[in-house]
């Protein structure tokens, strides 16, 4: 302990802190990318079993090595750039979504005290990064110089702008109740209730948030930007090899980020409801990361569940749902929450 103290206070203390941050970043990014590889496997298995199929079975026992095989294939695949494409934009585009989603991880508190950057505007930072990710899609759609990509890009930009409004408004209720934009503070604010989560008073906001999160990550039933029956694969139809893999990975990291926001803002993050913790004291020994990951896995499962169940929306239905249902609901939620907060 003495050595650690002197290292922190000495001239090298500054460098030591930076080194710790780098280690944290490496751990978080590494673990997340591992989750992404196995999220694809999990998705194929879940959807397979829901449709009474087995899913991947060939590579390893029960296909457990399938994601590794997929990854190797994508790494070594030929990278093709269309001859009429806008090359600089085409090359930059796939980096933007993965950059934006991975940097969102910086403000996510995974358990008590573990967060790379504990900033006051955590929630706003997450919004900023998720809106940045849309550029990757729009740029790919335009730079590929193909009508399928272009239509995918146009659909996505309109969809993301519309649902971002609903998503932002849905979280205002949470901000009002917590009185903070810092994600750790939001989690702590939920502990003062016996149920330990904003899910119960903010059920309306949770519903709006989840629907908007599905639309923001371009997942079924709102996967019109990559509707395979009309647009082949949408905005990334011209991409291959590792550039394609970046888009794919960004989609899954985006799902993990959205699930994490839902868990932190509505499900009490790494904590469990005080009423349960008080009646079963043994649960207090379980580290917070277990609860956090469990809740995130449930939300990721929800994504797959919905994908296997619900058919795709038509474009006008998507817009009508966003503007005429979700935004008014979120606004009503803000008004009610403000009145209740003002009265109490």
């Amino acid at each position: 302990m003495n050595i650690l103290d002197s290292a922190l206070s000495g001239t090298y203390g500054y460098l030591f802190n930076i080194a710790i941050i780098f280690v944290k970043i490496a751990v978080v990014v590494g673990v997340t990318m591992l989750h992404v590889t196995y999220a694809t496997y999990f998705e194929r298995k879940v959807i397979g079993h829901m449709q009474i199929r087995l899913g991947p079975m060939r590579v390893g026992p029960h296909g457990i090595l399938q994601p590794i095989a997929d990854m190797l294939k994508l790494f070594f695949k030929e990278d093709i750039i269309p001859s009429e494409a806008d090359k600089p934009v085409f090359k930059i585009a796939p980096v933007i979504p993965i950059f934006a989603t991975l940097s969102s991880l910086a403000v996510v508190p995974f358990f008590e005290g573990f967060v790379i950057a504990d900033i006051n505007i955590g929630l706003l930072y997450l919004f900023a990064m998720s809106s940045l990710a849309a550029y990757g899609v729009v740029m790919a759609g335009w730079a590929s110089n193909s009508k399928y990509s272009f239509l995918g890009g146009l659909r996505s930009s309109a969809q993301v702008i519309s649902y971002e409004v609903a998503m932002g408004l849905s979280l205002v209720g949470v901000m009002l109740m917590a009185g903070s934009l810092n994600l750790s503070d939001i989690v702590k604010a939920q502990q003062q209730y016996w149920h330990g989560m904003f899910l119960i008073p903010q059920f309306l906001a949770y519903f709006v948030f989840m629907v908007a999160a599905f639309a923001e990550t371009n997942r079924t039933p709102f996967d019109l930007p990559e509707a395979e029956s009309e647009l082949v694969a949408g905005y990334f139809v011209e991409y291959s090899g590792i550039r394609f893999a970046w888009y794919y990975a960004a989609e899954y990291v985006g799902m993990i980020i959205m699930s994490s926001i839902a868990v932190l803002c509505f499900w009490g993050g790494w904590t469990i409801p005080p009423v349960i913790a008080d009646s079963i004291p043994a649960l207090k020994v379980v580290p917070g990361i277990v609860w956090f990951l469990g809740k995130v896995y449930f939300h990721i499962f929800l994504y797959y569940w919905v994908r296997a169940t619900v058919p795709r929306y038509r474009y006008d239905q998507l817009m009508a749902l966003g503007w005429k249902v979700l935004i008014p609901l979120a606004l009503a939620n803000i008004v009610v929450t403000s009145i209740v907060k003002y009265m109490s």
Partner: protein
């Protein structure tokens, strides 16, 4: 020294990016350079301890307004746009005007005296958090101008819808 270096970087890069934005032949490239410019503006806000405004700068300008720009520009016939003349014939008049305004600012800036220091020092904002500080000022002291600004924006939204409806 370090703050000056930071400011120097932001100032030089922002001016050169603005020049890059207006000189690109391809409008889509202009918009993408503008995105980089907006990120530098947000960086400058962060540098001034204005974290809330920095985040809103990215969410609104980069995340919403610029995407709409891109949306419209992507619909243009770019092949025609690229071959078109970049600047209109009267550009020397514009340059002369710009230089005279710059001179005006340059000479008047030395005459400005700093106002009395308010209650919002860096320490006060750090203690209260920037979001809270800006919210309090906006909703108490400047409530009336704030409401007028929102009304003007509302009128613009209604106007846009009226214009769009007429054609259909």
């Amino acid at each position: 020294m370090l703050p000056k270096l930071f400011f120097g970087y932001f100032a030089i890069v922002m001016i050169s990016l603005s020049l890059v934005v207006i000189t690109r032949r391809n409008p889509v490239h202009s918009v993408l350079w503008m995105l980089v410019l907006f990120f530098h503006i947000a960086g400058l806000y962060l540098f001034l301890n204005a974290e809330f405004i920095a985040a809103v700068q990215i969410i609104l300008y980069a995340g919403a307004i610029l995407v709409l720009f891109l949306f419209v520009i992507m619909m243009l016939n770019l092949k025609e746009e690229i071959t078109a003349e970049r600047f209109i014939g009267e550009w020397p008049i514009g340059v002369a005007l710009a230089i005279s305004i710059l001179m005006l600012i340059f000479f008047s800036i030395s005459k400005i005296t700093a106002g009395p220091q308010g209650q919002h020092t860096i320490e006060a904002i750090k203690a209260e958090t920037h979001t809270k500080a800006i919210g309090k000022v906006l909703y108490t002291e400047y409530l009336f101008p704030f409401e007028i600004a929102s009304l003007i924006l509302l009128i613009a939204i209604v106007g846009a819808i009226v214009l769009a409806k007429k054609r259909g």
